[in-house]
């Protein structure tokens, strides 16, 4: 059940400059602290226009929110997001051959660009990708000759006249139907899907392989990357994320657990095991620790909208790479460097394996990623300023701008600062999304979805 909090925050008066001031807008999800495992949000994605916002959860459900179309001249803020459609995308399965239970958790959702009245999205769990059609129905035919309005068949002998059924308006109904099911192509766990700019093909990546699909063809896919060694004992790295270039339909990248990103050109050969470019930053030897391999593993890779840059997220930092420079990133932002001394504890409680995602804003000037204690961070690439905000019900009152947070790494804690040791590592923000055109962000805590927008004068 979703509780809708309609808290519009309108801020008049001072404020200004070029800095965005973020205001609480809405929060979706259960209020109580007892989090049902099935409600844990596992992916968040805006569609290409930003009108629709999809979330997937551990229970295999997809919930789509739609932004209200408001009269922009009149309103003081942008439209709210309300539930548009909810459906069960994936069910738990059992692979009897391997005695393997397949989780129904939705790993990724990717929207297709809209071509007609219906919306299409791809959703995937560990093994199966599904293409869903979400369509509206607001009319229905009435006036059948052989059927009553409730569907019962009439006795034909009672039919004395004929009429032509006509469409009459009805309450809007949003239907989701699976149009394609792409199954049995992945031996390992799928971590990424990405739709090609040709809008006909897409890729799906698991730990060791990447497959190329055609959206219309479900019984076949092409394997384009295979890093499985002949002898599994020699395995040293796995694929962690993959994405198509936003403009070049022949180009895609994939990141590895070793902190490298490979850019591949599908024109070069059918099997893209040999990369065209290899992006890797040499490790700083002074930072070497037991956990160096873990924290260098890339958890997410995202192209900028322009296609010139790509962003990677590892455990402690966000890096921006220029596609023309392979030997080091052009920008590096520390997300929560204060955790570096806590890696051992984070290893013990498994937090070090958390896979944070990252996202660009529409103009590629700001990047955002999540952290612990329900904090999320934004880095402005132009001003080089960063901000830490918190997604929390308690701290958000209507009509207030989100207050920046600060974590005190060590030493004397100032007022309003939070010490590292009092961070709640169970409250993590792994998934965030930025509206493609406007300053509206969706931030997923464990089981709640927060929507923030910049203040509108």
């Amino acid at each position: 059940m979703f509780l809708k909090f309609s808290l519009r925050s309108v801020f008049y008066g001072a404020g200004g400059g070029n800095d965005i001031q973020w205001c609480f807008s809405q929060v979706k999800g259960a209020v109580d602290d007892d989090v049902a495992e099935a409600d844990i949000i596992s992916t968040v994605e805006f569609n290409h226009s930003g009108e629709l916002l999809a979330t997937g959860d551990k229970g295999g459900r997809v919930v789509i929110f739609q932004q209200e179309q408001e009269n922009k001249i009149q309103s003081h803020s942008r439209g709210e997001y309300n539930v548009y459609s909810t459906f069960q995308s994936h069910e738990p399965e059992f692979d009897y051959l391997k005695s393997l239970e397949i989780e129904e958790k939705i790993n990724k959702i990717r929207w297709l660009p809209q071509k007609n009245a219906a919306q299409f999205l791809l959703s995937t769990n560990d093994k199966t990708i599904k293409l869903w059609k979400i369509s509206e129905r607001d009319k229905r035919p009435e006036g059948y000759n052989l059927k009553e309005e409730d569907g019962r068949y009439r006795d034909p002998t009672t039919v004395t006249t004929l009429r032509v059924p006509v469409f009459r308006p009805m309450d809007l109904m949003v239907e989701a139907s699976p149009r394609r099911i792409f199954a049995n192509a992945h031996t390992y766990h799928i971590n990424s899907i990405s739709i090609n700019s040709d809008y006909e093909t897409y890729l799906s990546a698991d730990d060791l392989r990447i497959n190329l699909w055609h959206l219309e063809i479900t019984d076949r896919s092409f394997n384009i990357v295979d890093i499985k060694p002949a002898n599994m004992e020699e395995l040293t790295e796995v694929i962690t994320a993959a994405e198509f270039h936003p403009n070049s339909c022949n180009t895609f990248v994939y990141s590895s657990s070793k902190g490298t990103i490979r850019l591949c050109d599908m024109r070069a050969s059918a099997l893209c095991d040999r990369h065209s470019k290899l992006f890797e930053e040499p490790e700083d030897p002074s930072n070497r620790s037991f956990f160096s391999e873990i924290i260098s593993s890339i958890s997410d890779v995202k192209f900028s909208h322009s296609g010139r840059y790509m962003m990677t997220r590892d455990y402690l930092s966000v890096k921006i790479w220029d596609l023309n420079m392979e030997n080091r990133p052009v920008e590096t932002y520390q997300v929560h460097e204060y955790l570096r001394s806590k890696l051992c504890s984070l290893y013990e409680n498994d937090c070090i394996f958390d896979k944070f995602e990252c996202c660009w804003n529409g103009s590629d000037s700001v990047v955002m990623t999540g952290s612990y204690n329900n904090f999320f961070r934004m880095f402005d690439r132009n001003t080089k300023r960063d901000i830490t905000l918190e997604a929390s019900r308690e701290n958000n009152k209507p009509r207030t701008v989100l207050k920046p947070r600060k974590v005190c790494a060590s030493g004397k804690r100032k007022k309003d600062e939070i010490s590292v040791d009092s961070l709640d590592f169970n409250k993590k923000i792994l998934h965030t999304a930025w509206h493609p055109k406007e300053n509206i962000i969706a931030v997923a805590t464990t089981n709640n979805l927060y929507i923030f927008q910049d203040k509108v004068n």
């Binding site: 391997k98 005695s99 958790k105 002898n231 004992e233 395995l235 037991f290 873990i294 051992c344």
Partner: protein
């Protein structure tokens, strides 16, 4: 937020994670287990280098002692003890035969050092020739160098089993007896935790008899010694690992890989070094008398596997001596064999091997779990100790705690 950043605890934590990942929903996650194995490797490298350094330092001290008059030896020892790190102190009883005289200690320590050198060389060799010479050269070479009697000190070292003197060979009992839970003279404490499929090799396996008893003794410096199932463990080990009738026969190891794409089971011959089962002084399990829950079966016994079938004990395992073990191994998962891997800490990580179980991780094949998932919550103490101790005692080249078969 503080946690013990020492190699031993990291190793045991990592083993626990790998083991519990078997029963997690959704199957074994290849990525996470790969990362955990890197931590294991790093911790092991540190542990190795620490031990090596300590051993060398001990060696130096003993050389100094040798030049002292005998009645000063105890003083020296006493002098040395406070200066030792905890790990070094743990070395003491095992290596030197807790309380034995210096005469026994000194050659033992020297012998250990010598074997460490050899092992190091062997590792490097094997790393170079890994693919060309699957047969284990190391054990044979090491065996050649191992004098009888000094093997008592090997309980501390993950020496090749072939290094151990044969069953019943006369040895200076004093290093061993304090380690035994009972008064009976038992075979050398260094067990081959591994039962090669090769009958030739099985002959070379020493009888690991003392480790559970040894470890608590060794851990005395760290914590009150516990005796986790000493007698039965000894019995088990003896049964599971036939005593070496021959000394110097090199051991071979086989590891079995399940390719989860093709579902082909292949057996890979590999050189490897036997590990000391439960000989480590540092095993937290032994020290605390409680097994780590869900500690993975570390390198150790081999296990036959056929796709689609329940795992069964290997023929070489002497099931008779296993006593209480029910058929099908429901309560005990024999430890897996150590995998050979490059030893040199400076070597490129790319050269390191991944346990064959990694290939199974992706499939999440629960057949590799020797017992039902619901009973995995109470692993037999034996298993937990075995695995953790093996891991800690291992100088063998392995990064992953779980080796398939």
């Amino acid at each position: 937020m503080e946690c013990a950043l020492d190699a031993q605890s990291l190793i045991s934590i990592s083993l626990r994670k790998i083991h519990s990942s078997r029963t997690q929903r959704g199957g074994i996650k290849l990525h996470k287990n790969l990362l955990v194995s890197y931590v294991l490797r790093n911790a092991r490298q540190l542990y190795l280098s620490e031990r090596y350094a300590e051993l060398y330092r001990r060696q130096q001290q003993q050389q100094q002692q040798q030049q002292q008059p005998p009645h000063h030896q105890h003083q020296h020892l006493a002098y040395a003890a406070p200066g030792m790190t905890a790990s070094a102190a743990d070395f003491g009883p095992l290596q030197l035969g807790g309380g034995g005289d210096a005469e026994a200690r000194e050659p033992a320590a020297r012998h250990q050092l010598h074997q460490l050198h050899q092992l190091h060389q062997l590792h490097l060799q094997q790393q170079l020739h890994q693919h060309q010479h699957p047969a284990p050269r190391g054990c044979a070479a090491a065996a050649a160098g191992a004098p009888a009697g000094g093997a008592g000190a090997l309980s501390e070292l993950p020496g090749c089993a072939a290094l151990q003197p044969p069953h019943g060979a006369p040895h200076r009992g004093q290093p061993l007896e304090p380690l035994q839970p009972g008064p009976a003279p038992l075979p050398p404490p260094a067990p081959a935790a591994l039962c090669p499929r090769d009958p030739r090799a099985s002959a070379a396996c020493s009888a690991p008899s003392a480790p559970p008893g040894a470890a608590p003794q060794a851990a005395a410096a760290a914590s009150p010694p516990a005796s986790p199932a000493p007698a039965s463990s000894s019995g088990f080990y003896r049964g599971a690992y036939p005593a070496p009738s021959d000394f110097g026969v090199h051991c071979s190891s086989q590891t079995t890989v399940l390719d989860l794409d093709t579902h082909v089971v292949t057996t890979v011959e590999n050189g490897y070094l036997h590990q000391d089962c439960c000989a480590s002084a540092h095993c937290p399990c032994c020290g605390h008398g409680a097994p780590g829950p869900g500690l993975a079966s570390a390198a150790g016994c081999k296990r036959k596997y056929y796709p689609g079938q329940e795992e069964e004990e290997d023929d070489d395992d002497d099931a008779g001596d296993l006593g209480a073990e029910p058929p099908g191994g429901a309560t005990f998962a024999p430890c897996k064999r150590a995998r050979f891997e490059d030893f040199c800490p400076d070597s490129s990580p790319d050269a390191s091997n991944i346990s064959n179980l990694i290939s199974i991780f992706g499939s999440g094949f629960s057949g590799l779990v020797s017992r039902q998932p619901d009973s995995s919550e109470q692993p037999p103490p034996l298993n937990g100790q075995l695995c953790a101790k093996q891991a800690l005692a291992s100088l063998g080249a392995w990064t992953r705690a779980i080796v398939a078969f």
